[in-house]
Symmetry: C2
């Protein structure tokens, strides 16, 4: 029992997970499956950002738009397709994929795996203890015998511009859940959220202006990715303005037209403005100060996802800032669950790379698909990253459009692939594919990189003809021929 | 000089390649690149069956049809799409992909890699000698210092039915090159050509009846592949008649309606009939008897593609009957080229599995994509094949529709995946994916199998969310959980 709140309860579990997004859910599933009693805490919807305001709704918006873009490149089908799509059915389908922002199905799943849910805001209250303020205002204290797993994720970060609060800007949440197509949409940013939302809403008929602070899009990927994407977005009618900053935002009362004052003093008017300007950790009100950690900062973890200096605290998913991607967070959750279960049994965790309780792929093989037209799929290190890491590498490039399977896939196919070959080890460090229909091609590279498959063996992995995957053969030939 | 023909010429090269399809072209390219003088012989179009009457035209017909099938499963886009496609633009695109059945581009490529072309019918005339009867009726004798490579491929095999010749049936050639959509198309067969052509011509509006001798489609693949395909073909309106044989064909004068007498005595009328009833080797007029080999039979080769009992004769592609697939023949051609070059230098070829001059993948990792709705992609061994080969294996199955990326890809997504896990070695022996949009997913499995990547490592190959590739994670979980 505690002295905080009214009618405080105290319960003890082997593992307490804070945050029931996909990452927290996976961590809980893994520890529970290992026989550890596990409780999970959630302050919003079970299923998290991904299910309601990120991956699922964004891809539900994007898939018909990308399929339409592909259809328009195929004689016979192109004659049937007119731009833009009717938004109603697309938005209704998106609503279905978010379960209309209700989490009943996810709660049922938690029940099915025997993980009790505590709704409320969880905060650390000293080692191995989480105090949950419930919606009713009571405080429930959860004590962990073995581990507390923090999986609270991240939130959109808004720049401190004059007028920004009153202007009620969109973040990724509003951009993925909007119920109407804005006539004019201004998007501030050049990262994944910015370009995916530009693609989706342009495909549904909005006039989109993309205000990019830097010179290019997607500047963490190989440069050609952003370049090919910018070209295609412009062809789709997106007004891209590189080198543009926003100085001020104005929408008195938060209704009507929003007016952006740009860095050069000019003005841009829009019906909505989306700030896709990065993410901040959801750690400012987690009680980190009660265990001598810094509130508001990313909470770093080691390769077992444990927070250094503790033997009980784990940080998984966006919160540890290793890779802000649902699938990578889920991977970390599986690894953390394995590590927690091993340590609970008194076992020592093998810290060799690629061991079951090590998130080695976080360093070597993080995959990402950007669902734009063209699709962008990358895994592992870029050339710049590999060189910065001191690897002796060579980049091998290939135009994908020259592959028969790509030419068949779409008329005028434009795309490019790059492999980063480690010259000392004879395997791949990275791969990037840009072009229509490449998203499912990525996992071949992910397996090659995570599997450290030698190039000599990759010659025996024959791509089926005529698929886009035949670009693998062209890339191996280019490497062999030194081109 | 020789005593055959008029004005016979004789020329000597390091390597003589007979057959300038993709397989022969690749063999010639490899030996020429290795510094060996190489000549190539072709009796029809340079580029071969694949370029003009198989892969290229069939996929050109199929791609818009499959894209339309996908589009009809996406609200927003579905409203714009009506069945069937207008055939004119699709056929015109197909004609473009076959270069209107002209081989000028391919001949230019041969020139560019410095491989002279001899047009005519090539026949062995004793060891290391090929006699080419040119279109002009002269005979040109080509002598090989090191190797003769036979890459003459295969042709459609027609059953010896009463009336079949007069009825002018379609084979794969006519089915891929037809200039009009038949009103009623009868297809005899249940293999790849049969189901792909049923898909293509049904998608362009034909009434298609599929007469299948056996009980299922695609009987060399995992049984669920043919089952899911049959269900979908039927939904698309294809009339599938399993257990049906054809006793007689009648089309007097070869024009008008064709009438098929079926095994049960009933009659089926159609505007065209396609016999997709297997392939025969193009070896009956190759002069094999001059080197004590059997004309008309498949010409078997070892893992370097050399014909046993010779030190100079190579058989690559369909002709060796290892895998009747363009990409696998090209792989054999690369390997054969490597072996020929090594032996020409007096080197011994390493016969260890997965060596550069061994076609190990022919046994372990042959990939194939069937471009139907659903797409079917398979590599390596089926469960039945793996068990017959004596491997201790377990099959792991997963419904693909339960994966978020698949549900997003198409409403009502139906598909299934299977991995064949070798329990003794801890790696994969086979994989099959059936469902819309899985064709580019296959290469991930091809790399895993050819790379013999341990399952423990595949856990670190994270599929990007939300792609269809996430089925990999579900399959690994199913294997772990013993389900």
């Amino acid at each position: 029992m505690t002295d905080t709140g009214t009618e405080a309860e105290q319960q003890t579990y082997d593992v307490v997970v804070v945050g029931a997004g996909p990452v927290g859910e996976n961590a809980a599933d893994r520890t529970r499956s290992a026989g550890l009693s596990t409780v999970i805490v959630e302050s919003e919807l079970v299923g998290g950002e991904c299910s309601y305001w990120a991956c699922m709704p964004s891809k539900a918006l994007l898939r018909p738009v990308l399929a339409q873009a592909d259809a328009r490149r195929l004689p016979g089908l192109a004659q049937q397709v007119t731009w833009p799509l009717e938004a109603g059915p697309v938005l209704a389908r998106r609503d279905s994929f978010t379960s209309h922002w209700k989490d009943g199905g996810q709660v049922e799943w938690l029940d099915s795996v025997d993980v009790p849910l505590v709704r409320g805001h969880g905060r650390l209250d000293g080692p191995k203890t989480v105090a949950v303020t419930t919606p009713e205002g009571t405080v429930e204290r959860l004590t962990a015998r073995h581990a507390v797993v923090l999986a609270t994720g991240s939130r959109a970060k808004l720049p401190p511009l004059p007028g920004i609060d009153e202007a009620k800007p969109w973040t990724s949440r509003e951009a993925t859940s909007a119920q109407q197509v804005p006539g004019r949409l201004a998007i501030v940013g050049g990262g994944v959220v910015a370009v995916e939302m530009a693609t989706a809403w342009r495909g549904l008929g909005a006039h989109v202006t993309l205000l990019v602070r830097g010179e290019g899009l997607l500047d963490r990927l190989e440069p050609f990715a952003g370049e090919l994407l910018a070209k295609q977005l412009a062809e789709h009618g997106v007004d891209i303005r590189p080198g543009t900053s926003v100085a001020e935002v104005s929408r008195p009362g938060g209704t009507g037209t929003v007016s952006l004052t740009l860095g050069d003093g000019s003005t841009l008017e829009a019906d909505e403005v989306l700030f896709a300007t990065g993410r901040a950790p959801r750690s400012e009100d987690l009680g980190l100060e009660t265990v001598d950690l810094e509130p508001g900062a990313w909470l770093e973890s080691d390769d077992s996802c444990r927070v250094p200096g503790t033997d009980w605290l784990y940080s998984v998913g966006d919160l540890n800032h290793r890779a802000l991607l649902t699938h990578q967070g889920k991977y970390q959750a599986r690894v953390a669950g394995t590590a927690i279960a091993a340590r609970a049994k008194g076992e020592t965790v093998d810290t060799a790379p690629w061991s079951p309780a090590q998130t080695t792929a976080d360093h070597a093989a993080v995959p990402q698909v950007v669902f734009t037209d063209p699709e962008i799929a990358a895994v592992g290190l870029t050339l710049a990253e590999a060189e910065a890491a001191g690897h002796r590498v060579r980049a091998v490039d290939q135009e994908i459009g020259s592959v028969a399977g790509a030419a068949l896939y779409a008329d005028g196919y434009t795309g490019r692939a790059r492999l980063i070959v480690d010259e000392d080890h004879g395997f791949l460090r990275g791969a990037t594919f840009v072009g229509p229909g490449v998203s499912e091609l990525l996992h071949s590279a992910t397996i090659a990189i995570a599997g450290e498959v030698p190039l000599a063996r990759l010659w025996h992995a024959v791509p089926s003809y005529p698929t886009i995957s035949e670009v693998w053969l062209r890339l191996l030939e280019a490497y062999r021929d030194g081109s």
